[in-house]
């Protein structure tokens, strides 16, 4: 029996979100008294034995992966083989684009109950239940999984990375990939900046910024802090900013450590996508803006006067 953690890489390096999943999987394996195994997919520049520092005993590295990141079918067939081999009783994914497309398929293959968007370690004292985020971040549900094998996808920034010491055994796996009948016609990268889904910090602008020509200060602050940029829906709808930056109920849902909202009123549909952020800062010239009720820190003031001073202060941080 084992807990398998499916990791993902970006530029051949294990993603931060996957390190959170590993730490979570290791904590779950301790609860269940079994070993934790990390699965690494595709070529990697990381020293995989060092994943032992996060508490896994074993790393299974499948170098050849075909197009599993575009084809959930061949991905789930591959992972199913590994689960069988390792007698997995529990599989952990990140609640990422990959996790969202593959975990549901694997759950049907393994007849394993699935909980997506977990935010806490499972409770195992009375059955097996996991807390997940529901109602677009406005509530939680404790969901009981009633099947022997279980799958959890973990929300970003919901579990702290836990690093100590250790060394993992690395096993090279060479499972044949099922051919895909999906053809990739084209792949496009969004311009330069950090992807919203992965971002630890996000700087976001709303209609209060008046026009696209005023986004320089948002971009400058984002660059200084290593943050991604985002916007409210009307801003994307007016084509002031690209659509993939739109956060909220109908856009991207994010849960960064820091969310700074500039000139955004804080409509309920906007909050639904950002209310899982750890620290929320609101800059708005209207003291009655509803966003202040959801904020940790606020400045009532004109963004055009406040932002340059914030940028100055960040530059002086050193």
């Amino acid at each position: 029996m084992s807990v398998l953690i499916i990791t993902e890489q970006s530029d051949k390096k294990i993603k931060k979100q996957s390190l959170e999943s590993i730490s979570y999987g290791v904590a779950v394996s301790k609860l269940l008294n079994v070993d934790a195994i990390a699965i690494v997919l595709g070529p990697s520049d990381d020293v995989l034995s060092s994943l032992g520092e996060y508490g896994v005993k074993k790393v299974i590295h499948q170098q050849t992966i075909g197009s599993i990141f575009s084809d959930s079918r061949s991905a789930s067939i591959l992972l199913n083989s590994i689960c069988d081999q390792e007698k997995a009783q529990m599989i952990i994914f990140s609640n990422s684009l990959f996790g969202k497309s593959v975990a549901p398929r694997l759950s049907v293959k393994l007849k394993a109950g699935l909980v997506t968007g977990a935010v806490k370690l499972p409770e195992i004292s009375n059955g097996f239940s996991v807390r997940r985020s529901v109602f677009s971040g406005k509530a939680f549900a404790d969901v009981k999984i009633t099947t022997p094998t279980k799958i959890i996808t973990l929300n970003a920034n919901a579990f702290e990375i836990n690093k100590t010491r250790g060394n993992a055994e690395v096993i090279e796996s060479n499972i044949e990939i099922t051919p895909s009948n999906i053809t990739v016609i084209e792949t496009k990268k969004n311009e330069g900046n950090i992807s919203l889904a992965d971002a630890d910090k996000v700087i976001s602008g709303g209609r209060g910024l008046k026009g696209p020509e005023n986004w320089g200060m948002i971009e400058e602050l984002a660059k200084l802090l290593g943050a991604a940029t985002a916007c409210s829906r009307p801003v994307a709808d007016s084509n002031w900013r690209p659509h993939h930056e739109h956060v909220g109920q109908t856009g991207v849902a994010i849960s960064p450590n820091l969310y700074i909202a500039v000139g955004i009123s804080g409509a309920i549909q906007h909050l639904a996508g950002v209310n899982r952020s750890k620290t929320i800062v609101v800059i708005n010239n209207d003291p009655e803006a509803p966003f202040f009720k959801a904020a940790d820190y606020g400045i009532v003031g004109d963004a055009f006067q406040v932002m340059p001073k914030i940028i100055e202060a960040v530059k002086n941080l050193g």
């Binding site: 497309s101 549901p104 398929r105 529901v134 109602f135 677009s136 969901v143 910090k201 904020a295």
Partner: protein, 246 residues
């Protein structure tokens, strides 16, 4: 081309979220119910647009739920779609719902469209499960969908970008922003919807894998700490020293 669009019922985006019966049930009092926005704006409207391009397209809608869902099913029919199927079930489990959809979908549909997620469950699970049950392709989080030379041409979000894929039918696709523009039903649609067939089927199996024990609301925020507008550098200091966020 035969398309099955999966539609679900959710509380309105502005609904106040609270719970009853020792926090085991959602409190429906005063709540307005809507078609889940992703299902309506993106999956259904895109299916209608494809039908407008090719009149031989047939659109069926499916919902798994109790008869309380019929109002939103009629509204969906008013937007478009030829007929609707409701599988009568009150069981709220992704595996169960998927099994019902797959059971209907296996009868010769080329495309099964779902929303990216329901805004109450946020499961993002049904599409993938249905595809696995049908042993067909699943493309998640699609932002564009066209049909060319007997294939689905789909753009989808990937980490930090977008990819364009071509895939044969049958296929399950989960839809999100970019697919189509929201529409409102017109009078003719509303009238037509009254007489469009709405078939009710009994649930075909009752295997479930999960159940909800209880709900909880997040702890209230401590309240905002306001920083005077003339000393924004204080904010930076607090973010570093107190919140440890930068």
């Amino acid at each position: 081309m035969k398309i099955l669009v999966c539609i679900s019922r959710t509380p309105d985006t502005t609904a106040k979220i609270s719970f009853i019966e020792q926090n085991t049930k959602f409190n429906p009092e005063g709540v307005q119910w809507i078609i889940n926005p992703y299902d309506e704006w993106y999956a259904l409207v895109r299916a209608i647009e494809l039908k407008e391009k090719d009149a031989s397209t047939i659109i069926h809608l499916i919902n798994i739920g109790t008869n309380e869902n019929e109002a939103i099913i009629r509204k969906a029919l008013a937007l478009g779609g030829d007929e609707a199927i409701r599988v009568d079930s009150g069981i709220d489990d992704a595996y169960h719902i998927s099994e019902q959809i797959a059971n209907v979908a296996k009868d010769g549909y080329d495309m099964i469209l779902t929303g990216k997620e329901t805004i109450d469950h946020n499961g993002s699970a049904i599409g993938g499960m249905v595809a696995e049950m049908l042993d067909c392709n699943y493309i998640s989080l699609a932002t564009k969908l066209d049909i060319e030379n007997g294939n689905a041409i789909v753009s989808r979000e990937i980490e930090g970008g977008e990819e364009r894929l071509s895939a044969p039918f049958p296929i399950v696709i989960s839809c999100q922003k970019g697919m189509a523009e929201a529409r409102i039903p017109n009078m003719r649609g509303i009238m037509a919807a009254r007489t469009k067939p709405l078939k009710v089927l009994a649930a075909s199996a009752n295997e479930t894998h999960t159940s909800i024990n209880n709900f909880d609301l997040p702890p209230a925020k401590a309240g905002v700490k306001l920083i005077p507008a003339d000393t924004p550098e204080l904010l930076v200091k607090l973010l570093r020293e107190e919140a440890k966020a930068i």
